[in-house]
């Protein structure tokens, strides 16, 4: 029995062992260090976004002109309103989360359940809104013409209002028709045709005297440069190589393709965090319902997932600023 020394005689002294200087449980501390490392990952992405933006500081897309849609309000210009609403939803779900944590401290199972439920609901609404935002962005708005240098040319009328490709393009005889699956002998489909070809846009542009071209370059007032009618015709005839509608990882009708790349990557990575946060919240929610934490005598698990959930909100505050506001 006395073979191992179980007492060192240093109990109670600083290095005697059993000290918890940070006064936090293992799980909570590890959640904090995970959050710290995840914060550095997000900072890496946002700093990379800043790097690319500084590289093209005089031709970067203006976020207000990109995110102008609101669900069910078709054709209404609503710059940033929907993102602001999404931000509110996320902040509010953070509030219900912290209320659930607080109720957990007082061992009130019913309240924890209710607030967790509201948190999950808020998270789901946010992810859904994000999906809608993505689909609107991918589908595009007005369409643009791509140039040899990998830039885009957009169309505006003399008042500076945007004009879509649909309003300009006129049908041209002898254009390639799309080879669809049902016409092919071996069920082959041809390459997709754009809705409006460059030839159709060029033909329409010559007829529409009041339409001008807007380039990506920002003026000193922070607005996009609008060319004169002669410059517009020259740009369209010399530089244009195709049309683009919407945005993907290669092309972007709103401006620099890097803008779309970072948009998909950063909001996607954040959306993935929200999604996994919702899943973890659901697991904890059911644990609360079946009384796991009641029996354990501590709702600390709610507090730990709460930390993660608040972190997701914290990241969104920064994404919102650097993607939509600045």
């Amino acid at each position: 029995m006395e073979a191992t020394v179980v007492r060192t005689g240093t109990e109670g002294k600083t290095w005697g062992g059993g000290n918890e200087p940070l006064k936090a449980s293992y799980g909570k501390m590890m959640m904090w260090f995970f959050i710290l490392s995840d914060a550095l990952t997000f900072s890496g992405f946002l700093a990379a976004y800043g790097f690319s933006r500084f590289k093209f500081i005089d031709s970067w897309p203006i976020a207000d002109e990109v995110f102008t849609h609101f669900p069910f309000l078709h054709g209404v210009e609503a710059p940033m309103y929907y993102v602001a609403l999404m931000t509110f939803i996320l902040i509010f779900s953070s509030v219900t989360m912290v209320l659930a944590v607080d109720a957990g401290h007082h061992m009130k199972k019913g309240k924890v359940t209710f607030y967790m439920f509201l948190t999950i609901l808020g998270g789901l609404i946010f992810v859904g809104s994000q999906a809608w935002e993505w689909s609107t962005f991918i589908k595009g708005d007005y369409g643009a013409v791509t140039t040899k240098g990998g830039n885009i040319l957009q169309f505006v009328n003399t008042e500076g209002e945007r004009v879509g490709l649909a309003e300009i393009a006129v049908p041209v005889e002898g254009e390639r028709t799309e080879h669809e699956r049902n016409n092919g002998i071996w069920f082959d489909a041809g390459q997709d045709l754009p809705s409006y070809s460059l030839a159709e846009v060029k033909a329409g542009f010559i007829q529409k005297e009041d339409v001008l071209i807007r380039t990506q370059v920002l003026t000193e007032d922070g607005e996009k440069t609008v060319l004169t009618r002669e410059e517009s015709l020259a740009a369209l005839n010399n530089d244009a190589i195709g049309t683009v509608e919407g945005a993907n990882l290669v092309e972007n009708e709103y401006g620099h393709p890097l803008f779309a790349d970072f948009f998909f990557f950063i909001t996607g990575f954040h959306g993935f965090h929200v999604f996994s946060g919702v899943i973890i919240n659901i697991i904890i929610f059911f644990n609360v319902i079946i009384g796991t934490y009641d029996r354990r005598g501590s709702y600390e698990m709610v507090e730990k997932v709460g930390l993660y959930w608040h972190f997701v909100d914290l990241v969104w505050v920064f994404v919102f600023t650097f993607f939509y506001l600045v």
């Binding site: 006064k23 309103y81 509030v95 240098g149 608040h310």
Partner: protein
């Protein structure tokens, strides 16, 4: 472990604090969006350290919001000094360094594109 430091507050003041912070966060967000939509000319025309004053305001308000989320919602204000500093100082130091280095480099490449013999818009 059931009794962590937040336990010592009475219930009323903890929830009151939560709603106060929610009000602060909401007001700041509304101000941000309003400024973003109106874009007052005197804020966009004034430059401070090569950046528009409006953008500085956005960034400061964001850090202000982040402070409240971390301190009130994530309970950093009730954690020990050691844990708080381990998380916050590490993050702030590394992130500031990264931002400084990448933005400087990005600006340098912009200058090369503009003044050097490099054609990217052909």
């Amino acid at each position: 472990m059931a009794h962590d430091t937040t336990q010592h507050q009475d219930h009323g003041s903890a929830t009151k604090r939560i709603w106060t912070v929610f009000a602060i966060l909401s007001v700041v967000t509304i101000v941000e969006v309003a400024l973003g939509i109106i874009k007052p000319a005197f804020l966009t025309d004034t430059y401070l350290l090569a950046m528009k004053l409006l953008n500085w305001i956005f960034i400061i308000l964001t850090i202000y919001k982040a402070y409240y989320i971390a301190w009130a919602f994530m309970h950093l204000e009730h954690e020990t000094k050691g844990l708080r500093r381990a998380v916050v100082w590490t993050g702030v130091f590394l992130v500031s360094y990264l931002i400084f280095i990448l933005l400087t480099e990005g600006n340098y490449i912009y200058e090369v594109y503009r003044n050097g013999h490099v054609a990217w818009d052909f």
